[in-house]
């Protein structure tokens, strides 16, 4: 479940897209392949963002990679792409894209869109690293996971409560028996005392 690359592009409805900021994690590939794979990722990201209409989300699959695209359009005409493997869950991918775009528009002023090289957005790398494990980073998934853990703990608790119930039953029976036996003992002792009063 890995993310390979993430990027934010400027996607005007007509014509070419330009990459504004991108980050990638190609550690799973051998050193010599990385250059060409990086080019491939950039090309892939640009192509799918060109083919996505404004305000639309899409997922495109190519061999082992899936690109999730969210073209937000709007005033800034931004588009975010994430390229990951097939196991990565779809919904957190899109929420990550939305978060990324919001952060980007908050931090980078629109005037610098025309000079992509001047944009400094290091948070994109942080996002990439953090979201390698979506169950921790995505809020909904984390809540779900914690709830599942809590449920397991509660099931164990109920089991132990049941065992406690059994032991308590045992104790009730035994104390009942003891009580009757001690009563018999008392009666016997009394009877013995009351028998030989003559002597």
């Amino acid at each position: 479940m890995k993310i390979f690359a993430m990027s934010v592009l400027l996607a005007p409805p007509s014509g070419t897209t330009t990459v504004l900021s991108s980050a990638s994690d190609l550690s799973s590939f051998s050193f010599f392949q990385r250059g060409s794979i990086e080019e491939f990722m950039t090309f892939f990201a640009k192509t799918v963002s060109e083919r996505t209409a404004q305000g639309q989300r899409q997922s495109v699959q190519e061999n082992n990679y899936i690109a999730h695209v969210y073209n937000r359009g709007g005033a800034e005409q931004l588009c975010a792409v994430i390229i990951c493997d097939q196991e990565y869950p779809v919904r957190p991918a899109f929420s990550l894209l939305t978060k990324l775009l919001d952060d980007f528009t908050a931090k980078v002023p629109q005037t610098s869109f025309s000079q992509p090289s001047s944009i400094a957005f290091p948070e994109i790398q942080n996002y990439l690293q953090k979201y390698q494990d979506p169950t921790q980073a995505d809020t909904i998934m984390r809540v779900q996971q914690e709830l599942d853990e809590t449920k397991i703990v509660l099931h164990k608790t109920i089991e132990s409560v049941l065992q406690r119930g059994e032991k308590l039953d045992n104790l009730v029976d035994r104390s009942n028996a003891l009580s009757s036996q001690s009563k018999m003992f008392y009666k016997q002792a009394k009877k013995q005392n009351s028998c030989c009063t003559v002597m």
């Binding site: 909904i140 809590t150 509660l154 409560v161 308590l168 009730v172 003891l178 009580s179 001690s182």
Partner: protein, 338 residues
């Protein structure tokens, strides 16, 4: 819906027709004519603007009626989302424009009030009349916007229903498209999204309304997929397999959140069960406690009795010897007799 209508022209024509019929009182007629002309000439700017606003409100309500008719339709396939979204957009803009105009009118009236500060009865009446007109226009606009809101609610309700019905009917088609990778080569930009651009401003920006459209487009896209296969195989280029998203992003989120909600409800149930069991076990513990008390008491009493007995025995040695003596005497007696 009543609207402010401008009837001074009718009044004029009536007066002229009456005048043409009667020949008496020419001077009176002239005076009346002058009065009419004055009135029509110096029609205040206020009433002009108010009448335009009234006309616009009536036209907006007409459009709203049409939108309501369109929204009420419950047919599955004849739905006209483009029209509805356009109408919605237009009506929204109209309402905003009317709002602005009313605000301008109000400012204008306040200005006039401040300028003239006339204490004459006529001036005060005019001011009050203007205020009343403004209030009436505002209330009419408020009514229109409430109706607009209701129509939109009805529309979203119907869309939800039609989507669920679409899912029922198109379920097999959607699963068939999901499993084999569909060779859709979708280069048309606006093709899959007829509603996204028109109503982005109106609906939730994440395009909640598009859910229905994706499901609908599926039947058409399967046809184009057949053609696409022929083309794509021929090209030596990278074959991009486009995975059509059946459930939009928002639906997935809502399902995830619903599952969280159900998990939390389950947890609540488990907790109540737990509490119930512990309460029941508490009662058992009480029983055990009472029993052990009884046991302690009984054993103590028995112990006391035995102590008494032991004390009696150990104090009565003399009596023991006496008893043995009596027994020996009896034995001797029996032996002597026998």
């Amino acid at each position: 819906m009543t609207s402010i209508q401008d009837r001074t022209n009718e009044f004029k024509t009536c007066v002229e027709s009456i005048r043409s019929r009667s020949t008496l009182g020419n001077r009176g007629m002239e005076a009346k004519q002058r009065l009419l002309q004055n009135r029509s000439g110096t029609k205040s700017e206020f009433s002009r603007i108010a009448s335009t606003i009234g006309k616009e409100i009536s036209s907006t309500s007409l459009k709203l009626n049409k939108l309501g008719q369109l929204a009420k339709r419950k047919t599955l396939f004849d739905d006209r989302p483009v029209e509805i979204s356009e109408l919605t957009f237009i009506i929204k803009q109209d309402i905003a424009g009317i709002n602005k105009q009313i605000a301008q009118l109000q400012a204008h009236a306040k200005q006039q009030e401040a300028k003239s500060a006339s204490t004459s009865a006529e001036g005060k009446q005019i001011e009050e009349h203007n205020k009343n007109i403004i209030m009436m226009l505002q209330s009419k606009l408020a009514d229109t916007s409430m109706t607009f809101k209701d129509v939109l609610e009805v529309r979203t309700q119907n869309m939800k229903e039609s989507k669920s019905r679409t899912e029922q009917f198109m379920y097999t088609a959607s699963t068939a498209a999901n499993h084999p990778p569909s060779m859709l080569y979708n280069t048309q930009r606006g093709g899959a999204d007829p509603m996204g651009d028109g109503s982005v401003a109106k609906f939730d920006p994440k395009g909640k309304g598009r859910a229905a459209q994706n499901g609908d487009m599926l039947a058409l896209d399967l046809d184009s997929a057949e053609e696409g296969t022929g083309n794509a195989n021929g090209s030596a280029f990278m074959q991009m397999q486009l995975v059509e998203q059946q459930d939009s992003y928002i639906q997935q989120r809502s399902t995830a959140i619903e599952s969280i909600e159900s998990t939390i409800a389950e947890l609540g149930q488990i907790f109540t069960q737990l509490a119930h069991m512990v309460a029941e076990q508490g009662e058992r513990v009480q029983r055990i406690d009472a029993d052990t008390q009884d046991i302690a008491d009984n054993v103590r009493m028995g112990h006391n009795e035995l102590l008494k007995y032991w004390g009696r025995i150990s104090n009565d040695r003399w009596l023991m010897l006496k008893i043995f003596g009596v027994l020996i005497v009896f034995f001797l007696l029996f032996i002597l007799v026998s």
